[in-house]
Amino acid sequence: MLKWFASRLERSPNVRRAVLVGFPIAALIVSLCSVWALWRTARFRDDLIARKYEGSLSENLGFQAVLTSEASRSYDFGTRDEQERTARIRAALLRASRRLAALKPPSSPALVAEMPAPTESISDERTLMQLLASPTLANLPLSGLGLALGTQKDLPTYPFLQTAEAAGKLPSFVFIPAASVDPQGKYLAPKMRRDLVFSKIAERELLDLLAAFKRDQVLQAYYISCADFIRIAGLPLEGQRSSFSPLRSFADRTYFRETRRAPDHFRQSEPYIDVAGGGLINTYSIFLSNDAVGVCGMIGIDRRLQQSFWNRMDLGAALGPLRDFDLGSYTIGTHEIAGHVSRALRHNLGAAIDQRGEAVKSEIQRIVIDQATVFTVPRGEGKIAFFVFNPRRIDSKYMSFFVVVVILLLSFLGIVWLDNWTQRSADVARQSQSEVVANLQGGFVVVDGQDRIVSSNARFQAMVEGPTNGRVVTDFLAPSSVTEYMQLKPLGGFEFAGRVRGRAGVLNPVIITSATLTYDGHPNRRMLMLIDSAQLEQTIAGKFLNIFSHALKSPVHSIILIADLFRRRKAIPKFDRYFAQMQRKVLEFSTLTDNVLRFSALDVKQISPHIRPVNVAKVLRMVLATAQAGAKAQELYLEEHISGNLRTQVDVELLQVVLNNLIDNALKYTLRGAITVHAFCRGTSIYIIVADTGPGVPEEERENIFELFFQGARSGAASREGLGLGLYISRRYVAAMGGSLVYEPVIGRQKEGDGTEVLAGSRFIIELPKYEGGHEDEKEEQDSAA
């Protein structure tokens, strides 16, 4: 063949010319198409990432809807309008909650719409074509269900209507989401094709589902979009969105699977923030089946839909104004009323579906014809037909269509991959945010544009009295701090020393750090971080306060910058690293705060350790496991050489503090190389050695490093980080446990030149007495590490 082609090419100049010209042109077209496709994919990917990321953030940080706190809130300042509006909302909510409490099943009759009488069934192709051409179907409003048969010229070109000489009664189905039809009633062919792809993907799942059903008669299953289901169930709802998101469709299928497994095949989701559209959503799904068909439908009730439901439940008058107000902009810690609404909805909807379900089941009829299987459902004056075709019986002339399908399938797999990837990134972001908030030892508050608290952590709630969410943050500040806060606010980020109103009205000194941020999708949020400085003022002379506040604040500054980086799409590949850095900073912040508190305690009272026999190896491994993250973030090695039975008598908590301090120190001062921890037993002592490859301590400073507030004059490294507390506390703790802590320089030799001795690192050595009593297995071990 090739040979023949080559000889033709040689003999005929025309063919040669055609190849010479045609081939580059074809190549050019193909490459242009590829570039275009890549560009489109990139755009789509960005869109996906943005959606997913924002969705997961709001899901994580948005907590819930804010109705109750809204009701109990009081303003201290604000315009007259605002006060009136608040009073109105509060009254409406109280009315609504009373009404909700009184709401009882069964459902209101309005929900159960009249079902049209069953229509005749179709038994052959001719009847099908008649049906397609019938004026009632042709005039069916498109909003009736995803198809308006007979009105669109391109419809008959779809393979499922023409193909297949048939036969093989392979179980199959077609999935027709309502979104394939636009509101103007035009067929959106490309969308339709895409939806077919989705149906292919969903096919296997549905077959599995049917197999699991153990009902051999069931040959078909339908996967129906929410909008269709609402219509089939005869629930006339206006104004629901008709957007179609691939991400949503994943979620849908998950719901369907779970619905099928659920008791009574009915399932209600918790309220969640919708990734694709935004807004609070409850999803209700039901799986209906008879011996021929299984139908799974889902209704997602979002804020727009709620309006009509509320109206029907006679709640509309009370809650309507709330909606028009701006329900969406409130976030909250409790959703008691939202819960009431959900339960009421389920009662009503559940009852409606139960009743409608029976009707729907009996009215769905199965007809087999050669080309396709058609189900009809009466609807108004016409019928709605569901087509099921056999995809393995496609004429070759439709091959190109299936090439498109295959390409789309591949892109779809790409989307699946992207989906996982973006999900992972979003998880990292989410994890880091909650971790930061949970681990911060300062009070953490997020306020909205009017300074109302939308979220606060446990530490803040412990600092102040009474409920916090929904109240104005300045309520919790001393008058002078309020003035300062209001003056500084226009700056964006700032910090100042102020006072917070604690329990019983006591004013406690705090350092307040504040910055604006986007939180829960709202750009105009502001965070406040309050670090308790009471201990500092009482125990430490004023001149040290500066050192303290700087050291405490600098990790916070870094955390704010990292959080800012997290918001960038381009940064997604770096999320893991940022997260590690953030963890490190949070850890550092905790150690600092710990040290300050411990230091305060040291001066106030004697250390009274709870000494008990312990295997140091366990404590050590625990501490090292936590420290690994920090080392990784700095690209340092953290090695451990723990050998032998290391039983000694210590206070575990104090020992942890000491080890944390030493390792933290090593991480702080070591820019490259490794941190090595040796632990071994020799003679009657246990030794723990923390060595690093940092700059070491110059000879003239070695005497002083264990002193209070000592800060080395080292350059380069993080010279200003830290308080000069860690080693001071560590030595006192070790002494309290009957041991000693000393410093030893690590001396190396210069590689080049004369081999003079140089400082090559630091070594901190803890010596603790070995515990002789107790364990019979105990035997002396030689160290293997020294």
């Binding site: 910090e495 910055a515 700087h550 500054h557 910058l561 990292i562 980086l565 381009k570 900073k585 993080a718």
Partner: protein, 128 residues
């Protein structure tokens, strides 16, 4: 191609310095040279020829030295008029001290990238 604006960044906190430089380079298209001390800044300024100095002013006496240095630059026989953006956690304290200096701005810490880049662009725009 347009040359990237160069920023000489002085910050003594190794971590904060790294983050800030990374953010400015990766997401805002500046060229950043990092220095960890005033001495290093003095040394690098001639070689690097920055379009802007981004100086983190810390606690203690150092901050006075940093401001003093900027004053010297401005008052030199051939004055260096490179715009200067001070960032500081001691905003109230510092604002007075730098208010007399030309072509400078001060931004309180903590800040976000939008805020710092907005100030930088303002200063760069003014200088041209």
């Amino acid at each position: 191609m347009k040359r990237k604006s160069r920023i000489l960044l002085l910050d003594d906190d190794v971590f904060h310095r790294g983050l800030l430089a990374e953010g400015l380079e990766d997401y805002y298209d500046f060229e950043v040279r990092k220095v960890d001390s005033l001495a290093a800044a003095k040394e690098k300024i001639g070689e690097f020829q920055p379009d802007l100095l981004l100086l983190d002013v810390v606690a203690g006496d150092d901050r006075l030295e940093v401001i003093e240095w900027v004053k010297q630059l401005r008052a030199a026989p051939r004055p260096v008029i490179t715009p200067v953006l001070f960032v500081t956690a001691y905003y109230k304290d510092m604002k007075e001290r730098v208010s007399g200096l030309e072509n400078t701005a001060i931004l309180p810490k903590p800040f976000k990238f939008e805020e710092v880049t907005q100030e930088i662009r303002k200063l760069l725009g003014r200088g041209r």
